[in-house]
Amino acid sequence: MSTATVSDLVSQPYKHGFVTDIETEKIAKGLSEDVVRLISSKKDEPEFLLRFRLRAYRQWLQMAEPDWAALGHPRIDYQNIIYYAAPKQQEKKASLDEVDPKLLETFEKLGIPLSEQKRLSNVAVDAVFDSVSIATTYREKLAEHGVIFCSISEAVKDHPELVEKYLGSVVPGNDNYFAALNSAVFSDGSFVFIPKGVECPMELSTYFRINSADTGQFERTLIVAEEGASVSYLEGCTAPMFDTNQLHAAVVELVVLDDASIKYSTVQNWYAGDENGVGGIYNFVTKRGQCRGDRSRISWTQVETGSAITWKYPSCVLQGADSVGEFYSVALTNNYQQADTGTKMIHVGARTRSTIVSKGISAGHSSNSYRGLVQMGAKAIGAKNYSQCDSMLIGDQAAANTYPYIRSQQPDAVVEHEASTCRISADQLFYLQSRGIGFEEAVSMMVSGFCRDVFNQLPMEFAAEADKLLALKLEGSVG
């Protein structure tokens, strides 16, 4: 491309990179059984939860960090992380007026106004600041429908029997290294419970904001939809720019019973590190949904654009007959980012169906890998899977890798997988420009066209956001 075009593009700084100056309570760095007990006592947790944490911690000590993903990162020093940091405003306030205004301002700056006048009218938001939930909007309205939407810490106090029943039932404490760590030290996250037959009247959203530099972030989210219930949930997250790496190891568990459905969307815009790969979040997430009921459905939709290293495989275990799992993903890597992400669809029940649409965009010197597993168990009679993994390469220094694992034991199950690659060529860009379409808009058009199938799955409000986010992240990468 002409040098005039590229150098004229101002590399826009990550606009969420600010830090909120607020008093935060932290405990000393390092992890030990005492730290786990301390976290549990600070949160005033019941016995069952302390046992859950300790069991997971002891299992974590026996495990080794996985190294099979195509990632290269310097060893994480687990003793050099703070495992608990909370804004001093500890107790969740009864009304938003009592919340520290600096916190409210933070979220407003991020485009998530929480105050009554300004909040989005059709989305209930649980705002989590440094892993502590500080406010949840529309709780009363939701309670009228029997919907419980609150932080996990509150759920543990107000609905301990529900938490005890479902926590760890989808992702057990010993499932993998990062899930074990999370199970031991998780601080907070969202809890959603939709009772029988209820279609949640609003979209629910949790917005995570990391503020402290050297804390690890260990959110835990649990969403349960009883028979015939349904909910659409959106997870958003941002963090300031620091020049050391931060660890984010979250666990999300979804449970759907007969005829229930959960749609879980993520638009992730962590700080990815600067152009030279310094700083940025290490994002290791275990997300799994269990379609326990017949005809139940779980849909994962994600737009990943940030994080220095991403390791996440939202999965569905399709147990119920005729249950459906879906995975729609756009993963963009630029500069020196690395992503190893994909999904696992485990077909257990009969006539289960899964659809995977994965779009990877690799720019700069980044490495973007899709790693998926489709497994047809012996009882998955009449099951069907369709997967499509497409990669868009921008420039010739980024890598796009595809590793789809297919395992089948059931002759009456059908698996179909396709993958292809494409790129943004200088000729195509020039063609659009010669028709009056600006460089950035042209790139954006082509990238959006590529991602169309996935963006169509996002809740409406966020599809436009996703378009803009991608355009922003790709600045300076073409040419």
Binding site: W68, M376, A378, S391, L393, I394, G395, D396, Q397, A398, A399, A400, N401, T402, Y403, P404, Y405, I406, R407, S408, Q409, Q410, P411, D412, A413, V414, V415, E416, H417, E418, A419, S420, T421, R423, S425
Partner: protein, 370 residues
């Protein structure tokens, strides 16, 4: 390491290779159980040198041992094969050796390796150097009728404009094992047709590794795996483009019946220098019983951006509507199945070198099916 005494054969194999048998923790061996190898008698094959009997047509000459060794090592290095376990095993087992140089167009050649003529581990090394413009059609015919193991390492170098049509027909025995590693380097403008048809072995592992040293070549791979009983067939292929304008057309087909297990891992690597690569890979698996297992993983690693790379994988059973169509024309169900199966397998078998036809490959491979 636990202090148990390893089975005699496993220890012996480990000594030959200089390394213990690969285990499940290694990604490349995750689904491949090497137990059948250990059922082999811990001795080198006692039969006659399979290479001594072959007569070479005009245009093919033998390469002197010293030079052959050099070329062999070079060939293995070009595809990153030197440290692969089956290659190490092969080297340690003092293999019978044949090194051939081909100039111009020559008559088709066939080599037969029937492990049934002896017992133990039959180790073979085959080096083929095709001069620029040369062309060779070669059929390798493996066989066995007892708990033998065959270890073959084939290294081929195709000069500019050379053409190699290499077919492997390997009907095995439910007690026998076959390890075959192919390291093939292609110069620009060369053409490779590699067709492998495997069936009936307790354990078979094919590792075709192709390197287009400067791109601009054509690699066409066709493979058929038939597994039934308790058999395990494994293909781990790798195609690397080290220059621009290369082409790959790969088709891997599987029929899995009984409690058979099929493993396929097809890696395609397109680094930055390999612009305008056109690579297509298709993996198709038919599951005929509910105890059979298929594990397939196509793999694409791409950095160059001006490329066309696609892969597809399907796993299913024989199509209901196709079966029904044949039945509605008066053909009984099981015969209809056989007809469809034959058509499915034929897509690969008909690409074997002409010499294979007289051996009736499909019948051969389907021998002793339950």
């Amino acid at each position: 390491m636990p202090a148990l005494a390893l089975p005699k054969t496993a220890a012996w194999l480990a000594e030959l290779a200089g390394e213990p048998l690969p285990g499940r923790r290694q990604e490349d061996w995750r689904f491949t159980d090497l137990a059948p190898l250990q059922a082999v008698a811990a001795e080198l094959w006692s039969g006659p040198d399979p290479f001594s009997q072959c007569s070479l047509p005009g245009g093919i000459s033998r390469i002197a041992p010293a030079q052959a060794q050099l070329l062999l090592d070079q060939g293995l290095q070009a595809t990153g094969s030197s440290a692969a376990w089956p290659v190490r095993l092969n080297r340690g087992a003092s293999p019978h050796f044949l090194a051939l140089r081909v100039s111009g167009s020559v008559e088709p050649l066939q080599l037969t390796f029937d492990a049934a003529a002896g017992q133990g581990l039959l180790a073979l090394q085959l080096l083929l150097v095709l001069e620029p413009g040369a062309s060779l059609e070669l059929l390798l015919h493996h066989g066995s009728r007892a708990a033998n193991a065959t270890s073959l390492v084939t290294v081929a170098q195709l000069g500019s404009g050379a053409k190699l049509n290499l077919g492997v027909l390997a009907p095995g025995d439910a007690r026998a094992s076959l390890l075959s590693h192919l390291a093939i380097s292609q110069a620009p403008a060369s053409e490779l047709q590699l067709t492998t048809a495997v069936g009936g072995w307790a354990l078979s592992r094919f590792e075709p590794r192709i390197c287009q040293s400067e791109g601009a070549a054509l690699s066409r791979l066709r493979a058929l795996q038939l597994v039934a009983g308790q058999e395990l067939a494994d293909t781990h292929s790798q195609v690397q483009f080290n220059g621009p304008d290369g082409q790959l057309d790969q088709l891997h087909k599987v029929v899995a019946d009984g409690a058979g297990r099929s493993v396929f891992n097809g890696a395609v690597r397109v680094p930055r220098s390999a612009q305008r690569t056109n690579a297509a890979q298709l993996s198709r698996s038919l599951l005929l019983s509910d105890r059979a297992r298929v594990d397939t993983k196509p793999e694409l690693e791409i950095v160059a951006d001006d490329v066309k790379c696609a892969h597809g994988a399907t796993v299913s059973r024989l199509q209901q509507n196709e079966l029904f169509y044949l039945q509605s024309r008066g053909i009984a169900a099981d015969q209809a199945s056989r007809l469809l199966l034959r058509g499915y397998c034929d897509e690969v078998l008909r690409e074997l070198p002409a010499a294979a036809a007289s051996a009736h490959p499909l019948q051969l491979l389907l021998r002793e099916r339950p």
